[in-house]
Amino acid sequence: MSTTAAAASPVTYLNEKTTVASWLLTKDHKRIGLMYMLTVTLAFVVGAVFAGLIRLELATPAGDLLSSDTYNRVFTAHGVAMVFFVLIPVVPAVLGNFVLPLMLGAKDVAFPKLNLLSWYVFILGMTVTFSAIVMGGVDTGWTFYPPFSTEGSDSNVMLAGVGIFITGFSSILTGLNFMVTIHRMRAPGLTWFRLPLFVWALYATSLIQVLGTPVVAITVLMVALERFAHLGFFDPRLGGDPVLFQHLFWFYSHPAVYIMILPPMGAISEVIACFSRKNIFGYSFVAFSSMAIAVFGFLVWAHHIFVAGISPYSAMVFSFLTYAVAVPSAVKTFNWTATLYRGAIWMRAPMIWVFGFLGLFLVGGLTGLFTASLGIDIHIHDTYFVVAHFHYIMVGGAIMGYFAGLHFWWPKMTGRMYNDTAAKTSAVLVFVGFNLTFFPQFILGYLGMPRRYHMYPPEFQVLNVMSTGGAAILAVGYLLPMIYLTYSFFKGEQAGSNPWMATGLEWTTQSPPLPHNFADQPVVTEGAYEYSKREMKVA
């Protein structure tokens, strides 16, 4: 039985029209957000299955489950699916699409048709890339380094590249749309410094998407031209320079890390303020740290290529700037911690995901001090240490942040509550499983196990088995939300407009919201997190 059947239920964006066409042709940012959610979840399942295959293979030192060629295609598929089709879109395109206009008191994003186009472009890019995986796969790794990608590999490099090229435009269009929306669609009284921090984070992210993505698109195009027309950009035999590719690739792909982590950081700020019932400590510092990360994030790309023949002096500059960009992330962490001080902390499920995020992001951020160090990086570059480090940031940070935000806004999105205990259990399982999977990899990396190894010397086995065991727990942790959230969508308790008693315009309209969000134009008269001025009562 769905709510829409209840006689008294009001018109919502979900029940206004229910035909398939009404979804596929919708210009409603909320419906587009949900469509992204389904798409990204599908990509996540695909990426996770490949991750499972990797961990199963690595449970033993010999290459006994998959052939080397298959293994190489599996880790490439895992990386491509997760990076381009999960981590980059997950928070901006799913949560951002859903809540940004609501947070601004707007009817929709600035360009609703463009927003729908972004989704179709995304679907097209994903279809092309995934068909490359299905039709035999790609074996270059998600990084596509030439000359292997241009001359060495006989797999479906081009098809995958074209898919990623297309997907990039979806990211650019979303970024453009969000920037204009934030500039032009704010409710009366909603000044820049009254904006929720999630909006600041989305703004900073959009900047990176618009400025960075074209570079990776052009780079992919150059690989294509070299593969087909033998124009020598990267292959030294054609007069090219393989390291040039690495510069171009990381000029986008390092900032892309911030596309992945800034929006979840923004979501964390929302949840932490709500469940501590307090202002975010140092609001403007948190807001500006997002912008600082976005800008300085463009100046550190060469820390990925310290061992690829760059001059020692440029290596020094890039190492120094990398340490500098760590400071705003540290500032955010301290501010979140200070926000808890003298709060009234309500331990509901979203907050448990926040604690998980804090723990994992902390480890991910701090281990960046190792990889940024020139003296240490020579030893740990391209080992499992780096694998562990970026998984702590991207999965521990970004995906935990996504789940915190999803559990926070779920009642708004669906009008339903989910089982709080199940959600907390899932957060704990993910936290434990994640640490068991990835912490041993720091040790493996320092011991010298290189990444992308199908087979490895037997002395590395114990740590690899721990990692594989952790992955099994992690899988259960990620499966649970799919079950209890699906159940909640159909059968969950009614949420009411503001079950968390949260500030923020999105909580002033009904759940699920009206097709055009607000019955009357909201007007803003105070900052984003004036919890301490509120009187709390269940709405």
């Binding site: 590999s153 292959d235 320079d241 019932r277 009234a344 020579i378 990444r451």
Partner: protein, 331 residues
């Protein structure tokens, strides 16, 4: 808890203990900050817990002195780590004088090594203990990366360039040698063993090496004749090409007006793409030897050119400026 699992690889080079000391320092710093934040978060969570959800927190909005404090403290800690790291990094980039020169070529999926006396080996590398060794290497196909964890050293093998690493082994034994840059199907099979030997054993190994074709220098000289380099590069400087005596390590003036140092990469480029950096005063007559000589041959030719530096001999330390471990010379 993890009894039996080592946390560090063997320390078998002079740099390894230094890298590990910095590693321990960063572990201590990160553990301090990590535990500090974890304790604060846990303490606040327990102390200010409210099960009703109906209370509100204190009206605190922030503190500028605190913000400045926790911006500056991490910054200075980062600068300290950076400075320490940089001092170690510069040791990586500056090999000592009189290193033992070894050459290597990476190719899918094997490492070939050549010693000056002419011994060649595949996926094994024999070196003496207590003597600085410099390996100059390139790749014949895609990117690879020469990585010896026990020495804490690695650098990418990049086609078209030379990279170099140096180390001084401190412990005899057998150590892993890995390819650390993904290179296709048998990337994880592109591994080998480094044998660190007592100097006497090393000498014995060298003499039992079963050398065919003489030392690298001799092989280079042979190639120099075979490829008819001698017809143009006359030693008296009156040939169609410049004399190569004393060229290695010198400043060479180009037709473009620039000067370059004639290091390994320059010689290699001059053999394979002679028109790119033409010596001032000479015509662009030299054909490319691409396809006529392989990477090992080029390395032998370089050794031979080095030997033309007035008898100082091939074993002379590389005249190339200090190269980062990572560092190939840019073309």
């Amino acid at each position: 808890m993890l009894s039996g699992i080592p946390l560090l690889p063997v320390q078998a080079s002079t740099l390894a203990p230094q890298v590990d000391a910095l590693y321990y320092f960063i572990v201590a710093v990160t553990a301090f900050f990590g535990i500090l934040v974890a304790i604060l978060v846990t303490a606040f969570a327990l102390k200010y817990k409210d099960d009703t959800g109906l209370k509100v927190g204190a009206p605190i909005t922030g503190s500028v002195p605190l913000e400045i404090g926790w911006s500056l403290i991490p910054f200075f800690v980062a600068v300290a780590i950076f400075a320490w790291s940089a001092t170690i990094f510069f040791q990586y980039t500056r090999p000592p004088e009189n290193t033992l020169e070894i050459y290597s070529t990476g190719k899918r999926w094997m490492w070939r090594f050549q010693h000056l006396d002419g011994q060649r080996e595949i996926n094994t590398l024999h070196v003496p203990v207590g003597r600085p060794v410099k390996i100059t290497f390139t790749s014949e196909d895609v990117l690879h990366d020469l990585y010896i964890p026990a020495f804490r050293i690695k650098a990418d093998a990049i086609p078209g360039r030379y990279s170099s690493i140096w180390f001084e082994a401190t412990k005899t034994g057998e150590y892993h040698l890995f390819c650390a840059e993904y290179c296709g199907t048998r990337h994880s099979g592109m591994i080998g063993t480094v044998y660190v030997m007592e100097p006497n054993d090393y000498q014995a190994w060298l003499s039992n090496g079963g050398v065919t074709g003489g030392s690298m220098q001799a092989r280079g000289e042979q190639l120099f004749q075979q490829l008819a380099c001698t017809t143009c590069h006359l030693t008296d400087g009156k040939g169609r090409g410049p004399s190569l005596a004393g060229v290695f390590g010198s400043q060479v003036k180009l037709t473009s007006g620039q000067t370059v140092i004639a290091d390994e990469s320059y010689i290699r480029e001059s053999i394979l793409a002679p028109q790119t950096k033409l010596v001032d005063g000479y015509q662009p007559l030299m054909p490319t030897f691409q396809g006529l000589v392989n990477e090992d041959g080029v390395l032998s030719l370089i050794e031979y050119v080095k030997s033309l530096n007035g008898g100082a001999g091939a074993a002379q330390a590389s005249a190339a400026p200090a190269t980062a471990p990572a560092q190939g010379e840019r073309r």
